[in-house]
Amino acid sequence: MKALIPIIRLLVIAAPWAMARGAALSVVVLLMGVALLGLSGWFITATGIAGLAGIGIAFDVFRPSAGVRFLALGRTAARYGERILTHDATLRALAALRVTLLRQQGRRDARALARLRSEAVLTRIVSDVDALDGVLLRLVLPGLAALITHALVFWALGWLAGWPVAWAVLGGYVPVAALIFWLLARRSIGPSDAVEAQGQALRRGVIDMIRDRAALILGAALGAREAQILQIDMQSRTAARTLDRAERDASAALSLLVAAVTGVALIVGGALVAKGAAGPAVAAIGVFVALALAETLLALRRGVAELGKMSGAARRIGTDAPPAPEPFDAPDLTGAPLLRIDTPAVQIQLDENAAVALTGPSGSGKTTLLMKIAGLANGDGITLLGERPDHWPDAALRAVVTMVPQRSALIAGTIRDNLTLATDADDTTLWRALSAVALDDVIAERGGLGARLSEGGAGLSGGQARRLTLARAILTAPRLLLLDEPTEGLDADTAERVLSGIRTALPDTAILAALHRGADHPIFDRSLRIDL
């Protein structure tokens, strides 16, 4: 529950003005609905009395009947406006939620960032974000609108039909409805979170079963695995059944509440008429208003039932985020060497325009070393311009160091979008970078910088994608360039051209490259072997 509060704040802050207007119109819609039924009821009763008394001619029919028409049309118009405004506000909030998430995730360490490649992790994040989409539209806005409406109706009823009726309606609705919603929340929070969690487990189970099929058949374990997955499905459906039951109970309780409050309003109204404290027409207002107020409650039910799912998602997304980085002092940049590594496995110093190849079997820690220099892992024994990389402020560090990781990713969009991910550059510069990695011909053939790549950069071969990420790194013109297997997936000839191209494009940059092949390329001053 607590985890939801920062999310709500974030969503509201995303579009406070649109949200406020949407909420105001929601209240207007509810109020007009209540007023419409109240006025119609009063009008019919009052005309009935006037007709019986034979003073029909003297009765002012025009203002009330104009009021009925105004409310009927006005309510429809207000409903339209409400829909537009609340959807607009929700869409803004959705975008804000995703941007915040993107920022938070981006601050995590190398291991966590690499995990974001996993489809399971991504699917979970996205489904959590989806679960939070309903927070405003189904929980916050209807809840707020219902409360305000009840408060305003209370004052209006007290003034029009007398305080006993007003108290009967407010006192009947608000505390009991609050109790029903509280019970619903309590009963549904467990199962609605469980439905979500079991759904994830089911998804993983099915994927595991299909991908591990051969081993399961060989191990004679397929049947057992199927039974296990069916068991998860049964648990998830049992939770869904509990949730449905809680929701239906709440619905029944709410509709009984509406009937009861209306009944009470009828009795109180009758008593007022009997005492002569109010005319029948005025007393009838309370009955019709009590009936019309049902609308304020029903919209909230679904949102409350989803509370468990929402707060579970908020909790996972919230704990996923690392603490905001502390503000650092800018490091002292004077005099110190560009890069100095002094660890048990590696000792080396790198100055401007040096180039070193890092070799060794997989698993020897080449990638980890590069990640440490890039400030994404514990940087013990490493100094960059005299300061540990993981102690640098991120923005300052990125201005000095760029790294191309081994399994680097492209984004959906044009070639230009991909190249200018980090920096703006004119087309001439972009083409120069592409030609440095021997990719200019390929891109020209595919329609130039405006050619589109689909999700994850699909549309280019592995080697072409690799070279595009290298071109992207060249464009940031760093003082230190870290390359993890830059020539993987390239044939010997292209690999040779690409390495030379990078050196030519960045003559003053220090380069540290982890490679399996090509460590003897002339651009490298020396090579350094790491062993297990």
């Binding site: 419409l36 039924l37 119609s40 005309t47 009935g48 007709g51 029909g56 009765f59 029919v61 028409r69 009927a72 049309l73 429809t76 829909r83 537009i84 869409l91 975008a95 995703r98 941007v99 998430l101 993107l102 920022r103 981006g106 995590r108 960032l113 974001l116 490649r117 996993s118 399971a120 991504l122 996205v126 759904g199 993983r204 099915v206 079963m209 299909i210 004679a220 374990a221 397929l222 199927e226 499905d233 459906r237 619905s251 029944a252 009984l256 009944g263 009828l266 009795i267 008429v273 009838a284 997989s362 698993g363 994404l376 991120d394 923005a395 990713a409 984004i411 959906a412 980090a422 092949r517």
Partner: protein, 552 residues
């Protein structure tokens, strides 16, 4: 005249109904009847209120209490009926989803189709539940709309033919608008779903590139760019929604005008300003209040149906997907994959004229004999059928022709399980299920360390932050390709089986890592196991006893 397109749409709908709705028709019928009964309680409640209020005017206050009692009892009855109807509906939907899920879970791993596991998981987990609103909302709304408005219309006519006429005119116009609104609501909801899924795709895309974005220092720019795109998307979506919402407003407008006209007409009649519309005797106050109260309920079923309209569309599209999945070609394996005692006798394998049956094509396999203790390489260029040969040997793919003889018996449904009980397979692309490493390596709890040492994988496990308790998860995060292969070899050793099959165990590995894998494999042979390896790596072929070429 109907176009062929409409006909096929209608056929699809009929098939979908037969598949999803027909099996639970009885449940749905019961729920609909309960929901209709609940709707019929309202006129009684309305009459009670009208009777009491008329009593106030006529000086008969004594009606108040009984009327309140009738009203509350009616409310309780309505709540109970709806509650009960909901229970039937939930059961109907639950049964349907359980049935379809069980069918998919029981089929998709047994008989593989060439469809990604993530796509099937999405269908099972996210899409099947979309059948629920179709089953629970649409059907009941349809039954209610065909009964309740007629009953209320009759009640209105019985009191006043003008009021009845107002409803009759406003009512039938609604179906006309409903088609429009149904379509518009569908557009609106689809548009919003599209917006969300586009934004989610963008989010996944950017999240999966997070490492690159961070290393390039492009975090702030990416966030700003995301905001811009989301803003553009919002503006376009709102343009569509403005129009789509407008048409659903028309439906509400009709019901609002209907209510206002009835109220005004009743008011004027009661005043005596209008003297027509009722049957002989003038309209009474009680009748007026009654008509006012039933009018909104007259329109309600139409609005419910309009709201449930796109539930049906969503349900139908799920059924279409299920139908497509039913129709794809599948490969099922030989045998039952049940526990069986290992096939007795010395290990032998003979292939004669074997042809593997894959969906839509046949793959001829080379003839060869293989005996216990041998280490054999199946070679050939990629796509020649090396993996298919391995799969056919273990009975993962049935034969179209020829025979595979194992330990002297024919490989068939009867013998496949016993034959497989002697084999371990090391697949090309490692997959780690979501379970701790020790459970994955040795489900029976044997000490994994000797096997890990033999596969040169002990250091890998020691280096993992949680050692044997690490969950490697879907992509094997935390281990490299070569490390994953060596873990797979350790797992094969731990099965204790005497024939080990490996599919391209050195693909995509650097020479040093490949050498480690080759050493681990040859160590297996020295340990007394037999080995069949599909590979085109010369270093690996050299390390084995002999090679047989698979030709496309």
């Amino acid at each position: 005249m109907t176009s062929p397109d409409q006909d096929s749409n209608r056929n699809d709908r009929a098939r979908a109904k037969a598949r999803i709705i027909a099996p639970v028709a009885q449940q749905l019928h019961r729920a609909s009847m309960l929901a209709v009964l609940a709707g019929l309680v309202w006129p009684v409640q309305a009459a009670a209120l009208a009777w009491a209020i008329a009593g106030w005017v006529e000086g008969d206050i004594g009606r108040t209490l009984p009327a309140a009692l009738i009203f509350v009892t009616g409310g309780a009855l309505r709540a109970a009926l709806d509650h009960r109807a909901g229970a039937h509906l939930f059961t109907a939907a639950d049964r349907t989803i359980a049935r379809e899920r069980a069918a998919l879970i029981g089929r998709e791993a047994r008989a593989r189709a060439d469809i990604g596991s993530a796509q099937i998981a999405a269908l099972i987990v996210q899409k099947l539940p979309l059948l629920q609103p179709w089953i629970t909302r649409y059907h009941v709304a349809m039954v209610r709309v065909s009964i309740l408005p007629l009953v209320l219309l009759a009640a209105a006519f019985w009191v006043s033919w003008v009021a009845g006429l107002i409803l009759l005119v406003a009512g039938p116009l609604i179906p006309v608008f409903m088609a429009l609104v149904g379509m518009a609501a569908e557009t609106a909801s689809r548009r919003q779903m599209d917006e969300i899924s586009t934004m989610n795709a963008m989010l996944m895309d950017r999240l999966s590139a997070s490492l690159d974005i961070r290393l390039l220092g492009a975090g702030a720019r990416t966030a700003a760019d995301f905001t811009d795109r989301a803003e553009g998307l919002r503006i376009r979506t709102m343009a569509v929604l403005r129009v789509a919402f407008l048409s659903s407003t028309v439906l509400e407008l009709f019901s609002a005008i209907g209510v206002a006209m009835v109220a005004v007409f009743v008011g004027f009649t009661l005043l005596g300003a209008i003297s027509f519309g009722s049957w002989g005797t003038p309209l009474t106050l009680g009748q007026g209040v009654f008509i006012l109260l039933i009018t909104p309920e007259f329109f309600q079923p139409f609005r419910d149906l309009a709201a449930a309209w796109h539930d049906r569309a969503a349900g139908l599209s799920v059924v279409a997907e299920l139908d497509t999945l039913d129709a794809v070609d599948r490969v099922s394996f030989v045998g039952q994959a049940e526990h069986a005692a290992p096939l007795p006798g010395p290990l032998t394998l003979n292939l004669t004229g074997a042809v593997a049956a894959l969906p839509g094509r046949r793959v001829a396999l080379p003839d060869f004999n293989f005996a216990a203790g041998e280490a054999l390489a199946l070679t050939g260029p990629s796509g020649a059928g090396k993996s298919t040969a391995l799969a056919a040997i273990v009975g993962l793919i049935p034969l179209a022709d020829g025979r595979v003889e194992v330990c002297g018996v024919h490989l068939s449904d009867a013998t496949a399980d016993t034959w497989r009980a002697r084999i371990a397979l090391i697949p090309q692309s490692p997959h780690f299920p979501d379970q701790p490493l020790h459970a994955w390596l040795s489900p029976d709890g044997t000490d994994p360390w000797p096997a890990l040492k033999m596969a040169e994988a002990d250091r890998i496990v020691r280096r993992l932050p949680e050692g044997l308790n690490t969950r490697l998860g879907e992509t094997g995060g935390g281990v490299s390709g070569g490390e994953a292969r060596r873990l797979m070899i350790a797992r094969a050793i731990l099965t204790g089986r005497d024939l080990i099959l490996a599919d391209e165990p050195t693909a995509d590995l650097d020479p040093e890592t490949a050498a480690q894998v080759i050493r681990a494999l040859t160590r297996l042979q020295r340990d007394g196991r037999s080995l069949i390896v599909a590979t085109h790596d010369p270093a690996l072929i050299d390390a084995l006893d002999r090679a047989i070429e698979v030709r496309p």
